[in-house]
């Protein structure tokens, strides 16, 4: 009776052990599936991230080279791709060049205006000389007039015999009158010319002085602006270089992450080992039964010896399974040979 109970208990123990081992094994398999699934997704995701990082790096590199203007390279490609060559730095330097030429021209014009002022001054002086010469001409005309009157007085004394002489004197007087009128007209023209020259001189003077100061101010302002643009350009280049560095680091980090994801293999190996261990444990249940201890058909000493033998065998086979298990305890130690 007690034998039968013992056998039943032994069977129940085995059945419960098997059930529990099966449950643990199932959950372990679930863990393995979940990990595998997650790892596949993470690998895909990190791979995508690395691609994006690489694209970003490529874009930043293009931008940097465009900013720096790789002049040697561009000169080699001259004519082939003229539009691309206009980057900020070359735009700045070309604008600077154009404005410099412009300012130089204005300064030249100003200098010429100053010279023109001197010339106009000379012209005004010469006009004054013309005026004084006209006064001399008028004086001569006046003297001629007096002379002709005196000639007519003398002609009158001669009576009828002086009539012809009187006509000549009259003609001389007319000439003097004409030359007087003529020199008056010239005087009027010279006067208006003097007014015009004075006005022109004023305009040129304003032009000469104003333009010069404006041009010099402009030149200074342009230089300042060029410096500011250069600063901005330098700052942008530096920032882009930094961004490029960060992209490199990001790429490296993603690489590390992808590498780290290869722990899946270890998990698989560990789970396989556990699988084998479970088999050994199940075998243990088969080999070592309570009924063996309670079987009174054999002497006690023999039963204990047999059980001890079974235990030894069990220990031996578990140790054997354990030796096959993964020797590695961390990711860092395994190196490439794992994969």
């Amino acid at each position: 009776m007690s034998d039968e109970l013992a056998r039943k208990l032994s069977n129940d123990l085995k059945a419960e052990l098997n059930r529990e081992v099966a449950s643990v094994r199932m959950e372990m398999e679930q863990i393995r599936d979940l990990v595998q699934d997650a790892i596949v997704r993470l690998t895909d995701s990190f791979g995508g991230m690395r691609d994006q990082s690489n694209r970003q790096l490529a874009l930043v590199t293009t931008l940097t080279s465009s900013m720096e203007g790789n002049s040697d390279q561009e000169e080699a490609q001259e004519g082939e791709d003229a539009v691309k060559r206009i980057n900020i730095r070359s735009f700045v330097s070309e604008t600077d060049q154009i404005l410099r030429t412009f300012v130089d021209h204005i300064i030249l014009v100003s200098r010429q205006s100053m010279e023109m002022v001197h010339r106009v001054d000379e012209l005004a002086t010469q006009m004054n000389e013309v005026s004084s010469l006209l006064k001399d001409i008028n004086a001569i005309a006046e003297l001629t007039n007096v002379l002709s009157l005196n000639a007519r007085i003398v002609a009158a004394r001669a009576g009828s015999s002086g009539a012809a002489f009187s006509v000549v004197a009259g003609e001389v007087r007319k000439l003097s009158k004409n030359s007087h009128e003529f020199s008056d007209k010239i005087g009027a023209v010279v006067g208006s010319a003097k007014t015009n020259i004075h006005a022109a001189k004023n305009i040129i003077e304003v032009m000469a002085s104003k333009d010069m100061s404006f041009a010099i101010e402009s030149k200074g302002r342009v230089d300042e602006m060029m410096e500011e643009v250069s600063d901005i350009d330098r700052y942008t280049s530096e920032t882009i270089a930094q961004v490029s560095g960060i992209a490199d680091e990001l790429n490296q980090s993603v690489g590390n992450a992808v590498m780290s994801l290869q722990f899946e293999d270890m998990v698989s190996q560990l789970s396989a080992s556990m699988e084998r261990k479970f088999a050994v444990i199940e075998q243990f249940a088969e080999v070592i039964g309570i009924d063996q201890l309670t079987d009174e058909s054999q002497p006690m000493a023999e039963r204990v010896e047999k059980l001890q033998e079974s235990l030894n065998m069990q220990i031996q086979s578990f140790d054997e399974v354990d030796r096959q298990a993964v020797q590695q305890s961390s990711m860092d130690e395994g190196d490439i040979e794992l994969f």
């Binding site: 009157l149 007519r152 007085i153």
Partner: protein, 162 residues
């Protein structure tokens, strides 16, 4: 007759050309102390000493009007009675009583005009700037009134007393 014309301010004056010896531009003259105010001074023209009359002062013009245009004037030098006598004794007897060389200071010179004697009118009573005593006669001329002066009266000589 031929008349030598000139201006004195706004007045248009004339003298028989036979009485005129020559015309000069105004020149420096030597004042004569103690003489009347209308004697400007003595002129020396080619060795002849001539008494120069200031016509404006002689006609009784105010000091403002006199000093107004002394800068640029002309001198009308008259012939002497002896000189006129050689040319026209009748004229010399009638209108040239002065024996010494004299001159009149005037403003601007005009022209020599031919005047028909019949056109000479007696002086009007209301002439401004010149007393009727100094006027020999007037002629209307191109909308101007030409006043022919009586040189003997201007020089202060009464020809009728001769």
């Amino acid at each position: 007759m031929l008349v030598s014309t000139f201006t004195l301010g706004e007045l248009y004056l004339g003298i028989d050309i036979i009485l005129v010896r020559e015309i000069n531009r105004s020149m420096e003259c030597t004042p004569v102390p103690g003489s009347q105010d209308y004697i400007r001074g003595m002129l020396n023209i080619r060795g002849r000493v001539i008494s120069l009359f200031d016509l404006k002062r002689r006609l009784g013009w105010s000091e403002d009007e006199v000093s107004d245009s002394t800068i640029k004037q002309y001198n009308v030098i008259m012939k002497t009675r002896a000189e006129v006598m050689k040319i026209n004794p009748e004229l010399a007897t009638a209108r040239c009583p002065w024996e010494d060389p004299v001159g009149l200071a005037v403003d601007q010179l005009g022209d020599v005009r031919e005047i028909v004697d019949d056109n000479i009118l007696p002086p009007p009573a209301n002439l401004r700037g010149i007393a009727a005593d100094f006027v020999h006669g007037v002629v209307e001329f191109e909308q101007n009134l030409l006043i022919i002066i009586d040189v003997a009266m201007v020089l202060g000589l009464d020809k009728h007393n001769q």
